[in-house]
């Protein structure tokens, strides 16, 4: 990350309400308010959002505007153990967290125990009809699925977006070539 980029992220595009820069060990780092999940440092009720462990965190650190104001309803595809999903839940109204693999889902449920607005679903994101009876229309979709055909997954889940919602941020994981500059 270059210096001017670093400076830009502090002022320019707005962070969602509930995400802010706080001092950790004398360094200003991204943070959200909530119970710690993976042993990250906290300061008061704020806990560090480690951009190296979370692609959404990294996008904010890079100054990308995800067009989230905070307090949205979010469909999170590919929640894995819930590292990033927990931070998103900290500043969202409700997060429907879809994960397909059994082992990370166990951790995800643990994270959800502490967060009444995080709803874990052991479902396949390629088959949205299998959770259409649980998930309500949402304001934003965050996608972090490590599978082929990520575009197809995004298109299939478009049906969950409210008519007036703009934000849809598919995050390409290693499974396909990343279009997002890394930190």
């Amino acid at each position: 990350m270059s210096d001017d980029n670093d400076g830009a992220s502090r002022d320019s595009p707005p962070l969602p309400a509930g995400v802010t820069y706080r001092g950790f060990d004398g360094e200003s780092r991204l943070a959200t308010r909530g119970a710690p999940v993976y042993g990250e440092p906290s300061s008061g009720e704020w806990r560090l959002w480690d951009a190296r462990r979370s692609k959404v965190g990294a996008m904010y650190e890079q100054g990308l505007d995800l067009r989230l104001a905070g307090d949205e309803k979010v469909l999170y595809l590919g929640a894995a153990s819930g590292t990033t999903a927990s931070h998103v839940a900290d500043f969202s109204n409700a997060v429907y967290a879809v994960e397909f693999a059994a082992r990370p889902t166990r951790d995800l449920v643990g994270v959800a125990e502490e967060r009444p607005n995080l709803f874990p679903l052991l479902k396949d994101a390629r088959q949205p009809e299998t959770y259409g009876h649980v998930v309500e229309p949402v304001d934003a979709i965050v996608q972090d699925v490590a599978t082929r055909g990520q575009a197809r997954v995004a298109r299939a889940n478009r049906r969950f977006l409210r008519d007036n919602s703009k934000a849809c941020s598919p995050i390409c994981a290693r499974a396909t070539k990343s279009s997002i500059p890394g930190p």
Partner: protein
């Protein structure tokens, strides 16, 4: 898995608050093509008094369901998979063997008896006229039933292999993955084997003949059934088998030690086999990548 209700029902419709079993069943087996304003609908239908209460109920239901389902899937056990794939092979083999007997017997009584399972199916549909017909037709019906059981066992293996070893099942195909696990005696022993051993699993006879100095070393065992080995030209089949075995070994280790799905393994294998097959087009087998 039996419950499939109207497209317009939410997970909560018709449920009693606090019936966790029914809630799990509804979340897991119902479906809806389009999302609806479930919180408002739940209040309207009287399932909950307020939207805040709805989210409490949703939280309890989704957490309970995800926890129970994850535990169940994690318990999916390699030993069960081994029993199932062996039973599938036994059922297949026995059905074919008995079908031959039926064909031979039917040939002596009826005209135009076809061989195989299809022949047995035709015989099973006949009406018996004599006591011997009865025995023959009964036997044919058993062959058909056994063949159907083999098909059900295969479906079971295909489903469970992906839970037990997601990466291995994706790379090898679920049935070959199950056979490899069965030959090794479990996922753990398979994950601990070197790639060269996995490559010749199922070719033990040829391997020991080779070790006695009587035969060339086998190029492949059961992985021969994989399209990437069988579909590669003879000259490069050894390379393909070696490459496939290498990736399958990695997949088995990821499955045993970590358990998460690594789709990049699929791409690496595809690319590797493509390079090996490209040697044919260049008209030479000189280079080893």
């Amino acid at each position: 898995m039996t419950e499939r209700t109207s497209e317009h029902e939410g997970w909560f419709d018709g449920l009693d608050r606090g019936d966790t079993e029914a809630a799990r069943n509804a979340i897991e087996s119902r479906a809806a093509d389009m999302p609806r304003e479930w919180p408002a609908l739940a209040v309207e239908s009287g399932f909950v008094a307020s939207e805040a209460k709805y989210y409490d109920a949703l939280g309890a239901a989704t957490r309970g369901t995800a926890r129970a389902a994850a535990t169940e899937r994690e318990r999916a056990d390699d030993q069960q998979l081994i029993h199932a794939v062996r039973a599938m092979d036994d059922a297949d083999r026995t059905a074919n063997e008995l079908a031959e007997r039926v064909a031979e017997w039917a040939g002596s009584r009826f005209e135009a008896a076809e061989p195989g399972i299809e022949g047995a199916r035709t015989v099973a549909e006949r009406d018996p006229r004599e006591p011997a017909d009865e025995r023959l037709i009964d036997l044919a019906a058993r062959v058909v039933a056994l063949d159907e059981e083999a098909i059900r066992l295969r479906a079971f293996v295909e489903r469970v292999a992906g839970d037990v070893a997601p990466n291995l099942a994706a790379l090898a195909g679920p049935v070959l993955a199950a056979r490899l696990i069965a030959l090794a005696g479990g996922l753990k022993p398979l994950a601990r084997k070197p790639s060269g051993t996995l490559q010749v699993l199922g070719a033990e006879e040829a391997l020991f003949a080779h070790l006695r100095g009587q035969a060339p070393s086998p190029k492949h065992g059961i992985i021969y059934t994989h399209e990437y080995v069988r579909g590669t030209s003879r000259e490069h089949r050894g390379s393909a088998a070696r490459a496939l075995a290498g990736k399958l070994t990695i997949a088995a280790r990821v499955d045993y030690y970590s358990g998460d799905r690594r789709p990049e393994l699929d791409d690496e294998l595809d690319a590797r086999i493509e390079r090996i097959r490209a040697r044919d087009e260049r008209g030479g087998g000189e280079s080893r990548s």
